[in-house]
Assembly symmetry: C2
Homo-oligomer: 417 residues x 2
């Protein structure tokens, strides 16, 4: 059996993830491996924790990675906090809200959902009212719904949770590093971020941070693995002596993860060395750019993209008042095969944009402007190519207008900065 050399074609990735990776991050991954408990490696882990706190805008002690893709972090937080029979409120307005419901239900919770039409979000007061009415132990919600391109305002939900002593868990997978995520200011008890979106690090790690309210709940469910104890007989009953019920997952048990990341350095998994190198370098570049500058960059390229799309005669999907700055959802014109447009964009221009899920499949395209992919070059190339492919598919567009509109937007840049 003979397999060819790894040699993927060059791609411009304008999806809501995975997106392009800064060459400096790619290079970091080719650095030789350190052992997991090598002091040089644990220093790198600690530095990564420090940078994660900055990114999450938090003073939380705990900010570390779960070794899995984004949803592993979501499940780690939820399975570690939810006990069988707990009531969990999930306000949902898109596909990833459904994912939270899915995970929460598998944790054995009684789920109460609050649904909004896709393409819109909740008024914070609606959610606060539902919290007061249902009095859940935990509220789980998505910050940025990449399935619809909508972003939920969060400030105020945390306060309502504290009134009834509920925990607030927020999926910031798609917003972290591209949009403000004010963990402490918004009273979010646990947040879960992704790497392969606005942070522009390859998929494979999930980022979590949580406060003392979460930790005190976790510690009630903590136990140490038997194979790690020096005197194995002394603790054989510890599994049954907990105040809380045991956490259902071993791999995704935050008690064990924090003992691995914390000073105890208790063996759990083997930290994914090369991915940690990539994350550390990616976070370093984010902080070098500066969070506020980075958020403004994402707004600038969003504006150019939206103006280009409008000049092409296309319309945007969803309520503009809650549009997510890092994903732009475009209505597929009537009679156009959206998948064919995507396929030609990919095969002829090497540009990838996304379709959507469930009820929106075939109805919208989703164009991401995230992290390293969020650049003038990429926006201009994408608009030009999309125009050409639409023309090829018989759509009447004002030739050349999209790129000019984007260029004009950039020329006004001085006014915004």
């Amino acid at each position: 059996m003979n397999f060819r050399d790894l040699s993927p074609s060059p791609r411009t990735l304008m999806t809501p993830g995975p997106v392009e990776v800064d060459p400096r991050v790619l290079r970091a991954m080719s650095t030789p491996i350190l052992g997991q408990f090598d002091p040089e490696f644990t220093d790198l882990m600690n530095e990564t924790m420090t940078m994660l706190r900055e990114i999450f805008m938090t003073k939380n002690q705990w900010a570390y990675t779960v070794d899995g893709t984004s949803r592993s972090g979501l499940e780690a937080v939820l399975v570690s906090l939810i006990e069988s029979g707990d009531k969990v409120l999930v306000p949902l307005y898109g596909r990833f809200g459904h994912l939270l419901v899915e995970i929460v239900r598998r944790c054995g919770a009684e789920v109460v959902t609050l649904e909004k039409d896709w393409g819109t979000v909740f008024a914070v007061e609606e959610i606060a009212a539902a919290i007061r009415q249902h009095r859940p132990q935990l509220v789980a919600i998505v910050h940025g719904e990449t399935s619809t391109g909508c972003m939920q305002p969060l400030d105020g939900i945390g306060l309502a949770c504290r009134e009834i002593d509920a925990l607030l868990v927020v999926d910031v997978v798609a917003t972290i590093g591209g949009v403000e995520v004010a963990t402490d200011k918004w009273l979010m008890d646990a947040v879960i971020g992704g790497t392969q979106k606005c942070l522009s690090v390859p998929a494979g790690l999930s980022l979590v941070s949580y406060n003392e309210r979460v930790e005190s709940k976790l510690l009630k469910r903590k136990r140490i693995e038997q194979g790690l104890l020096s005197d194995s007989s002394a603790v054989s009953s510890s599994f049954h002596d907990l105040l809380g019920s045991p956490i259902r997952s071993n791999y995704l048990d935050l008690c064990q993860l924090q003992d691995y990341w914390g000073p105890a350095r208790l063996n759990h998994h083997t930290e994914a060395t090369s991915m940690l190198y990539a994350l550390r370098e990616g976070l370093r570049l984010v902080l070098q750019e500066g969070l506020q500058d980075r958020f403004e960059r994402h707004k600038r390229h969003e504006a150019a993209l939206m103006n280009g799309i409008a000049a092409m005669g296309l319309t945007l999907y969803g309520d503009p008042s809650c549009k997510m700055p890092v994903v732009t959802c475009v209505n597929i014109p009537d009679g156009v095969n959206g998948e064919s447009v995507r396929a030609v964009l990919l095969s002829e221009f090497g540009i990838e944009i996304a379709s959507s899920f469930g009820p929106l499949k075939g109805r919208i395209w989703r164009i991401g402007t995230m992290g390293y992919s969020c650049s003038k070059r990429n926006v201009l190339l994408t608009l030009g190519a999309l125009e050409a492919v639409l023309t090829l598919h018989g759509v009447k567009v004002d030739a050349g207008a999209a790129v000019q509109a984007a260029m004009n937007t950039y020329n006004k840049e001085a006014l915004w900065s």
Copy 2:
């Protein structure tokens, strides 16, 4: 905040993982990203599946990655197969057997353990007898216990399982790619391999393969996420209409994972692109070397290492008749601080060897000879450095003898190949 450039010191990694990575694999990780459903990427995924089948010596349709470190694969298989109240037999002879118990218990199983003193393994007939006696739904066992350096013979256990229609799940995390793992021949229903050991790919992925007996059990528990369905109302009740109970984890649900890896390509997680690049390259190098040649290489360097250790006057831990060829456990001489020896080896020579867990902590060192780390250069450097550090710690050793003994072993190489 200013963080320094990533610049880890060079290391010779002689632990049972993570081990050194071939520069070709490191380079593969710096390849730019493809989108997860890009046909070029799904081709790479398919090629990886083909190579995994070779490595696992199986004709199974399913052989793919779980995006997490090794224990994520263990938990994925166990949580997807075990229903609450199932009886599970775990024959255990070291720390990683305890880990299986831990995971199985959290899956809600009734666990029956069969224990052997650390440093030994079971006769296959002992396990077969226990299977006939306890009639479990599932048997879970470790192939190579890196905590003790012992390897359990497996041929015959699968047959006993089939007699009572039990499933056999085997942790081959530490053996895959270094020692024969004959999935089909030994009638193993599911196997879970690690990347960061004998395959010499960085940690971050877990490798699973399973047969139709497993798949038929999985399909009884299958459901599709609501956010993915076009008509969300039609299936809202599907969660309750299963023949089997729903799988407790979403991230580690093999039903969803096989629909992501299979022709359906249903969205689940975002495959860890750079890690997949690394794995594909690592597998390619393994197959280029040839499995049998690779196994012989591991035996050859093990022999040189053991002869060197013996020439130094040190003794090996554990029953030699079940020694794992890729891990050599050395008794720490009386009165020597094992951690101090390890620390000096690391800080002065840049060489890492491992301690052990639980009852063996402070009693043995574990020296890995795995994958890319398993080389003449590394064995000779390690023996020379260990001798120097032992001398520094006041241990009387016959100066120079260890390296000469290893060299003599290599000089006999022609006789073995």
